[in-house]
């Protein structure tokens, strides 16, 4: 099967009409090229969007209060209310599937700068948080430390600032840790700086937030035991989407909100959002395969067509060979191998050009800087192997009909053909 003579013959036949062979090969190569490019584009989009989720605990929901719309237990509708710290404890007890419940507060941003350091000022978001928030936000401590439960318990006036703030308010090589910032009139010591895990440049607000212990925040800015909103992450294995109803019902009870009041508590389910994006990726790669394979099929039909023409042209030769005693199976095998060889070679060329194209796109992306929602388009080795498998199968299919028609002609008729 892999004899030198057979390969010699395959090459002789395919190179005897080079232009036609190349034109045929182009169809298959183009199909594979399109398939590879589509899959890579899908992957690039996926990588880009995934990066936005990078480091975020995706099994998370956010929950905040609105105004009530249904009167309940003597309380009127249109009532404003706040979560309390006791709600957090209540949730911990009632919903054991939750891993992290982070009560959060934010300083209402007034006009003008709220942060002062010497002569430098700036306007930044300021949050009161528990230490666990760092597991839910896609940030990491670059210098110093994050605050801990001791800071919470002792209500220390310490803050962790974004690296962007450090760049705004400090000199290039100045040490920020240990210095003091005045935030809305209160002095806080900087104990750490953080950076974001994603490096897509971000907007103006990236790495420009300030975190301080929740208790410190409550005391400094008079929030008592009010909670602005909560970031709630479920344990692995539990879905936050399934728990959200129970969570909301629990806080409705403790806040004396009518159980059917749909608008009193707002929430955002990150996991559901994430799943929606995940299924989008699935759909994208399905479309890529679908379109790519359709294009490929037209190439394969081209190969099949050309093989039929080649057989027609070689009818007499096949007759001669059979008169000389060549086994029909050998002829069939020969034609199948020619077809597979042609598809694989042209497919390989398509893959190579696809890879070069992707390489070029990557180089371009690197040189112009990150593009929103698009990152590192690539195809995995698995995809290439699948493509090769598709090629072998399609080569077989393309050669099958011609091979059969070749041996169906009786040698006597084949010899008569002029």
């Amino acid at each position: 099967m892999f004899s030198k003579d057979r390969w010699k013959e395959i090459l002789e036949v395919l190179s005897s009409n080079m232009l036609r062979t190349v034109a045929t090969a182009f169809g298959v190569g183009w199909g594979i090229f399109i398939l590879i490019i589509l899959l890579a584009a899908g992957k690039g989009l996926e990588n880009g969007i995934r990066q936005d989720f990078n480091g975020v605990a995706t099994n998370t929901m956010f929950m905040w209060t609105e105004t009530t719309t249904v009167p309940f237990e003597g309380l009127p509708e249109g009532r404003e209310f706040n979560f309390k710290l006791e709600d957090v404890e209540l949730l911990r007890r009632n919903v054991p599937e939750l891993r992290i419940i982070s009560p959060r507060n934010r300083l209402r941003q007034s006009e003008g700068d709220n942060v002062i350091r010497g002569t430098e000022t700036g306007s930044y978001r300021v949050y009161g948080d528990y230490p666990e928030i760092i597991e839910q936000n896609p940030v990491y401590v670059a210098h110093g430390r994050f605050f801990n439960h001791n800071d919470i318990n002792e209500k220390r006036k310490v803050v962790v600032i974004g690296d962007g703030i450090r760049q705004d308010l400090y000199e290039e090589d100045e040490e920020a840790i240990g210095t003091y910032l005045k935030i809305s009139g209160v002095n806080f010591m900087v104990i750490g700086t953080y950076k974001e895990k994603t490096s897509d440049g971000g907007g103006q607000n990236s790495e420009r937030e300030i975190f301080m212990p929740f208790t410190t925040f409550s005391q400094a800015f008079n929030r008592a035991d009010n909670v602005g909103w909560m970031a709630i992450t479920a344990k692995d294995g539990s879905s936050i989407s399934e728990l959200s109803e129970k969570i909301i019902l629990t806080v409705k009870q403790s806040r004396k909100v009518h159980p059917d009041d749909k608008r009193a508590i707002g929430f955002f389910d990150l996991y559901e959002q994430f799943n929606r994006v995940e299924s989008l990726f699935g759909a994208l790669s399905f479309i890529a395969y679908f379109v790519g394979i359709l294009v490929l099929i037209s190439g394969i039909i081209g190969v099949s067509n050309i093989m039929l023409i080649v057989i027609k042209e070689r009818t007499k030769e096949i007759g001669i060979r059979r008169a000389l005693g060549e086994n029909p199976w050998s002829i069939k095998l020969q034609i199948l191998m020619e077809s597979i060889f042609l598809t694989i070679i042209s497919g390989m060329v398509g893959i190579i050009f696809g890879a070069l194209f992707i390489y070029g796109i990557n180089a371009l992306l690197d040189s112009v800087g990150p593009v929103d929602m698009f990152l590192n388009p690539s195809v995995s080795l698995g995809v290439v192997l699948v493509a090769l498998l598709i090629l072998v199968v399609s080569g077989l299919l393309a050669g099958f009909i011609p091979a059969n028609s070749a041996i169906k002609v009786r040698p006597i008729e084949a010899l008569r053909t002029e």
Partner: protein, 234 residues
């Protein structure tokens, strides 16, 4: 060598059936050189095709070297053709993208002879037909006579029991025809059995026996005094 009894063959042409061979009885001994003659439509080519296992017989029996030839599937037929028969065609039927030597080596390839031995044998047979130095040439670079000699070398390469030639000189001028016949006679002198289909009386006269076919039956079968082709060849 060849034993044919009561051979019938007809072709279906739409609703009509054309009875081409109507009971042929015919046998050939080893070492014979037989000319099968007849006008167009007499059934001579059909007979040769059946002898060559390129076509199937409808009725009767055909034994080749003691082997009954019947119920052949294509694989078996190919095998028998390769082992028993060598073909020479009017239009040479060389494979045009293969060199003379490769063409001659082709039947040996189908016998799974090793590459090196194949080439040696091919060169030996090319030597016999006087084309040793044309071994690397493609058929398109050869003259008609040379092509036919390559074809004869190819037919002989597998050392067949019987050589079947269908109008071997039909596409050649008379001088070249005699050269080819000279070659065929020499091969016959070595003891090979050869059947030639021809409609040219001078070619038939160079055989040892002439079988006349008319309308699907043998009307004459006679041994003759062979005319040597060598006297016409310088």
């Amino acid at each position: 060598m060849i034993e044919i009894k009561n051979l019938h063959k007809s072709y279906k042409m739409g609703s009509n059936s054309l009875h081409v061979l109507k009971g042929i009885n015919f046998s050939v001994e080893e070492g014979e050189l037989v000319a099968i003659m007849g006008s167009s439509g007499s059934g001579k080519s059909t007979l040769l095709n059946i002898l060559g296992m390129l076509d199937e017989l409808d009725d009767g029996s055909y034994d080749l070297d003691g082997v009954p030839i019947k119920d052949l599937n294509e694989t078996k037929a190919a095998n028998y053709r390769n082992k028993f028969l060598g073909f020479v065609f009017q239009s040479f039927n060389l494979i045009n993208y293969k060199s003379a030597m490769e063409n001659v080596a082709l039947p040996l390839y189908y016998q799974r002879v090793a590459r090196k031995e194949r080439q040696e044998k091919a060169l030996k047979y090319l030597e016999q037909v006087g084309l040793r130095e044309w071994a690397e040439h493609l058929p398109s670079e050869l003259s008609g006579g040379q092509k036919q000699r390559v074809a004869i070398a190819r037919a002989m390469a597998a050392e067949p029991k019987v050589l079947l030639a269908d109008e071997p000189t039909g596409a050649l001028d008379s001088k070249t025809s005699y050269e080819v016949m000279d070659l065929i006679q020499k091969i016959n002198d070595q003891g090979n059995t050869i059947l030639i289909v021809t409609h040219e009386p001078d070619i038939a006269d160079m055989c040892k026996r002439i079988v006349h076919l008319k309308d699907g039956v043998i009307i004459e079968d006679k041994k003759i005094e062979q005319v040597r082709a060598a006297q016409y060849v310088q």
